[in-house]
């Protein structure tokens, strides 16, 4: 925190929006916030996928179960993030990031599950019939036929989820937690324009980076979707 004591000069004193001096003098803080943001969002995304698996299996059994799962996910999704963050916070260490990650996992479910179910519904019935006729059991049908064919839709859902997770995580900054959101809010409280803009640009860039990486994964794992066009 020594950097905060240094008397500001040049563009920092002028409180410019774009300021190289800010970037160099606070490099450590910025990198720390960015790293934390990546860690927390990646954890939330990984956990979201893990949680979505059993919910998918439940939803595949009956149409009403699917509606119920999507219904609960929809209720969670409608709760404003600041409210959800503080609602589950008391059950954890107050300054830990765990409740925020859990809330993000909750938000992710609607986006993920809706795409997973849509993707599974789009698997042609003929293909499922054929696989069953070849003696595929339920598990093999799911892992070898249905999931691969639904992969484009699932990955599209993951892309939307990753972008929304990165953005939502920044609201944790209002509660003094989370990476880049905290940088943003601190910058606002210290009336430091360069920090506000840097944090905002990094959040958007990180969201777009997730999107780009997952798009690449989508291209590599489902080459047939491009060939078909």
């Amino acid at each position: 925190m020594l950097s905060a004591l240094v008397v500001p000069r040049g563009c920092l004193r002028d409180n410019a929006w774009i300021c190289g001096e800010y970037l160099t003098s606070r490099k450590h803080d910025i990198l720390h916030a960015l790293t934390l943001h990546v860690e927390l969002s990646a954890t939330a995304l990984a956990l979201s996928l893990v949680v979505a698996i059993p919910l998918t299996l439940i939803g595949m059994r009956r149409a009403w179960l699917r509606s119920a799962v999507l219904g609960v996910a929809g209720v969670v999704y409608t709760i404003p993030s600041l409210a959800l963050f503080v609602l589950i916070t008391p059950y954890f260490d107050f300054y830990s990031n765990t409740p925020i990650v859990i809330a993000l996992v909750g938000y992710a479910q609607l986006l993920l599950l809706r795409n997973i179910f849509t993707g599974l519904a789009e698997v042609p019935a003929d293909v499922v019939d054929a696989a069953q006729g070849m003696g595929y059991g339920q598990w093999r049908l799911l892992t070898r036929v249905q999931l691969p064919l639904a992969l484009p839709a699932i990955l599209a859902g993951l892309r939307v989820t990753s972008v929304s997770t990165v953005a939502l995580l920044s609201i944790g900054g209002l509660l003094g937690r989370g990476g880049l959101g905290q940088l943003l809010y601190d910058g606002y409280q210290q009336e430091l324009n360069a920090q506000v803009l840097t944090a905002l640009v990094l959040i958007v860039a990180l969201a777009l980076a997730y999107d780009a990486v997952l798009l690449l994964v989508q291209r590599l794992t489902t080459p047939w979707t491009r060939a078909a066009r």
Binding site: S67, G71, A83, L111, F117, T118, S164, A167, I171, Y188
Partner: protein, 270 residues
């Protein structure tokens, strides 16, 4: 992770805070703050509607600009709401005042309405438009008498998504100087008054859900012949209700195969 069930910090305490009349009344009371939040949300939504619906209709009518609309929608999802709130409040022309929050919220209400209006208008069947033209309708009449009515259900869905999102984000407006329900959350968080934080959060959550359900009913009224049992008409889109333009086809093998229209994605809640 450490699970800590400290007696001073449970949801029950939030409810006991809510049970005190003093939490609700006065200039900093929940009633006043909730009212302010609803007013700000309504103003922002109106602003977003005035811009997004005409633009969406016009672009949908000429069927151009789809990629721009999509890009705007995606960008709206990537930019964090709190970021725009803070950014605008730091820009001299806006500053920390009510108008700033309304403009920032309107920016976030815009993409869902624009996307849905454009998509719905552009998706009106070519034959239908041909028929309307054949009956002698002028382009303006085609727009107002054919395309707009046909697009209305999906536009309503977009407005509802935007409204819930704007209301959720309006909570955060207190951080840039407005008097919304974020105020007791912020103050309670700083002063470690967790019963106040949790109690207010419960109110915010309940109001957001109530808004979604209410608008779901309005939307169902605007959707002619909304299918299925009554509960689907009442439940909001995200809950599997009629809000969804079309449900995914049943997954059971051998079911007939109406290709599900992919839903317009819900953007991030603030």
């Amino acid at each position: 992770m450490t699970l800590r069930l400290a007696p001073t910090s449970k949801i029950g305490d939030g409810f006991s805070w809510l049970s005190h009349g003093s939490s609700w009344t006065g200039s900093g009371g929940l009633l006043h703050l909730a009212g302010r939040q609803l007013i700000i949300s309504a103003e922002s939504l109106a602003l977003a509607l005035v811009v997004a619906v005409p633009v969406g209709l016009a672009l949908g009518h000429i069927r151009k600009g789809g990629s721009v609309v999509t890009a705007l929608g995606n960008l709206g999802r990537a930019v964090p709401t709190i970021g725009i709130l803070i950014l605008l409040s730091r820009i001299g022309a806006f500053g920390v005042r009510e108008r700033t929050a309304v403009i920032a919220l309107a920016i976030f209400g815009l993409p869902p309405i624009l996307t849905n209006t454009y998509t719905a208008t552009a998706a009106v069947d070519d034959d239908t438009i041909d028929a309307a033209r054949g009956m002698g309708m002028k382009p303006g009449q085609v727009l107002t008498r054919v395309e707009l009515p046909l697009a209305l259900p999906l536009i309503a869905a977009g407005v509802r998504t935007a409204a819930v999102q704007v209301f959720a984000t309006a909570t955060l407006a207190s951080y840039v100087g407005d008097a919304t329900l974020g105020l007791p959350i912020e103050a309670g968080n700083n002063q470690q008054l967790y019963d106040q934080v949790v109690g207010t959060a419960v109110v915010v959550a309940v109001l957001a859900l109530a808004l979604d359900v209410t608008l779901g009913r309005v939307q169902a009224l605007l959707t002619p012949g909304s299918p299925g049992p009554v509960w689907r008409r009442v439940l909001p889109a995200a809950w599997g209700g009629a809000g969804a333009p079309r449900r995914p086809a049943p997954m059971d093998a051998g079911a007939p195969e109406p290709l599900p229209t992919r839903e317009v994605e819900k953007p991030t809640v603030g």
